[in-house]
Symmetry: C2
Subunit: 239 residues, 2 copies
DNA sequence: CGCCTCATTGACCTAGTTCAATTTGGGTGG
DNA sequence: CCACCCAAATTGAACTAGGTCAATGAGGCG
């Protein structure tokens, strides 16, 4: 159940038996939500954080004009609101795209983990910092990249993130967002996103269709996106 | 020297004598840099983090086409690269706008703080999460807000952040960014930013001139920006 | 069968960019 | 004190990436 998290950790850190057990022991309670549900609402006090075991979700903010900006796409193995441990409340909503299975990590348990297994505590902090790094890369996308680069960049990002949790195959990955939801992430209109997807498809790079992304030419796609995976911190590190 | 940090902490948390001393004791070494210097370069391994005691800086990424996206403006009292404690290297550069006085916080000292004063450790984590929250709000700006709203929003943000560290007066605040640097933050061209600044000035809301922002009508400016300071987490919280 | 959401396409429009020229003001060498 | 320089600000004019509005397909499902 917690496998995607362990994959995400192991691709960066060696995890001791004790640490692994320490994490497993406190993450026992699960929670299921349907598609298009608000998992955590902006401003509400939080006593626990949630890990995605299965499904796709996002961080988003709704504006008073009815539009919405998605700030990060959350995949299996991601904590959706670990940020609420130090913040106590979130500045944004967390919403499911698909039905999700979530695992609770009580804030009290995090405090205990930090006291007893400080290295594991630092790993949790690490994951929240990767979220910040992803935010920064999205700022570059929204601020500097053309519509076509932005689309390509997002598809590359999701590919690399899903790969480490074993959710890609040789041809691509399951990707259940609608075009509207992609637009809400990329700051584009549905019309223009559709054009860009067609352009990428006709260039022989990638096809997004029926909840699936099929990558025809990864190198070409990454070049198109000016994609550099460094910001995802997927390489091994030691502490 | 460390005063702005203490102000930033005290507006959110009660700090015990022990905690305050614990922080002061490990932050003794200072560092000075001139204007327009790279303080921390993307990718280089970090052994300590830096606090701004004086001056203005930013997080930024340079693109291969020579343009640059600024992701956050760092003010006195801000840690510029606390993120590097869990990440070990940064995904972006930190650059000074003005001459800066910085104070070192060695990563080893952070590890000790977490072991001995876990609440203080959580406060450090908190500050990195406020950075993430600011990133998210900027994503909303770049993705959804008009140029005029974006400009107004940034000026409101800096006002609120400077106010808690005592760097505002009744009329506004010192703000040394050039219009080009504002553009690199907001994803706008210099021409258009200039038009928006004129519009805001002629609407009687705010004037940016000679390194100073003068706010004529704070309520009006915040309404123009659809600004809500909640994402800065400036209110007291308890842990 | 009819409804609803999502994807696709076409036509027109505008916010913001780009290119280019001018102004301003502070700094500096003579 | 003045002439000159340079970075930054300002303005004008033409252009375009991407948005808006509107209509049409195309599945999925009660």
């Amino acid at each position: 159940m917690i496998d995607p998290l362990l994959s995400a950790i192991r691709c960066r850190f060696d995890l001791s038996e004790t640490e692994e057990r320490g994490l497993l022991d406190v993450m026992t309670e699960t929670l299921s939500v349907g598609a298009d549900r608000t998992i955590t609402r902006e401003g509400e006090p939080q006593r626990f954080s949630l890990l995605i075991a299965e499904g796709f979700a996002c961080r988003s903010k709704c504006l008073d004009d009815g539009s919405r900006q998605i700030m990060e796409i959350s995949l299996p193995g991601d904590f959706v609101d670990l940020h609420s441990y130090p913040l106590q409340r979130l500045d944004h909503d967390v919403t499911s795209f698909t039905p999700c299975t979530l695992m609770k990590l009580p804030h009290d348990a995090i405090t205990d983990i930090i006291a007893e297994m400080p290295r594991l505590g630092r790993i949790l902090w690490f994951f929240t910092m990767v979220d910040a790094s992803i935010h920064r890369e999205w700022l570059v996308s929204l601020g500097r990249r053309s519509a076509r680069e932005r689309v390509a960049h997002l598809l590359c990002e999701v590919y690399h993130r899903l790969r480490v949790v074993g959710l890609t195959d040789g041809t691509g990955y399951a990707f259940p967002l609608t075009q509207l939801e992609m637009c809400e992430s990329l700051g584009l209109s549905t019309v223009h996103l559709n054009h860009m997807l067609r352009a990428l498809r006709e260039a022989g790079l990638v096809t997004m269709r029926e909840g699936r992304v099929t990558i025809h030419d990864l190198d070409g796609l990454e070049k198109q996106a000016r994609f550099d995976p460094g910001y995802l911190f997927l390489d091994p590190r030691d502490f």
